[in-house]
Symmetry: C2
Subunit: 159 residues, 2 copies
Amino acid sequence: MANKLNLDKLDYQIIHEMMENAETSYADLGKKLFVSGGTIHVRIKKLQEMGVVKGSRLNVDLKMLGYDVIAFIGIYLEKSSLYDNVARELAKIPEIVRMNYTTGNYSILAEIICKDINHLRNVLHDQLQKIKGIERTETFISLDESLNRNVQVSANGEN
Amino acid sequence: MANKLNLDKLDYQIIHEMMENAETSYADLGKKLFVSGGTIHVRIKKLQEMGVVKGSRLNVDLKMLGYDVIAFIGIYLEKSSLYDNVARELAKIPEIVRMNYTTGNYSILAEIICKDINHLRNVLHDQLQKIKGIERTETFISLDESLNRNVQVSANGEN
DNA sequence: ATTGAAAGAGTCTCAGT
DNA sequence: ACTGAGACTCTTTCAAT
């Protein structure tokens, strides 16, 4: 996509600051970036209207909530034309949080978050295996998530 | 982890509501869940103090910002004992946003977000290849991200 | 486009239940 | 533990620059 949004350095700085911590007040962020709170407000509103900023998500400790298992599932399809259909069925499973149609080994690389290994096994066996069009799957269970962050948008826009 | 946090149904409901959209006001959320805004406030504060709620992140359209390429990298290590060291080096690359130590084929499954294919190639060639301990890598480029959401925390707590 | 101030809305605290 | 009201802070608007 052509990056012709005409964002300036301030826009990038705001995005950069709020991507990891969306709680900072406009006044404080303004102080940090040497503009008024009103300006921050105008910019964020502009970014929302443009669709660059789509909202914000609560960041929770899933382990504390009892979700102990993150796993990745490489999915082989019988025919790649079945992708849309399989994707639609996968999306119905609430434990599946992410799906990418990829080059390479697998047709689909999905991510799933479960309470425990039993829960994972149940979803794989009772739901995933029943979807038509999936040839086979490979599951990678995460033993340690050592990094999970947002991409660091560089604060040096073109303007 | 033993899920002995003594969260009740209301706590789970609040988490559930705010995980996809952290913008709802306490007053509105209270109306929806049939309690006062003050109660929502007390609960969220409690959840923050417990460490269940860790903050919130701005949700941006990376494609609009010129980040067109999401890829996953399966990494084979020469020896699994090199994990800590490799993980530390990988974390220094800002384009790497996620890293999991996994069972199965690869030792590490990483995610990388780049502006374009050239950018990806440069990071793989100039930075990843130079890390000691990596035997080889397999790259899966995402052609389509059909799903990216938070896990739906079930709002039926134990209490 | 940015500012600063005023109006409006939301958060936070607390006494009462 | 929840409520409602008051104090406070933040967002939002707007006239002036």
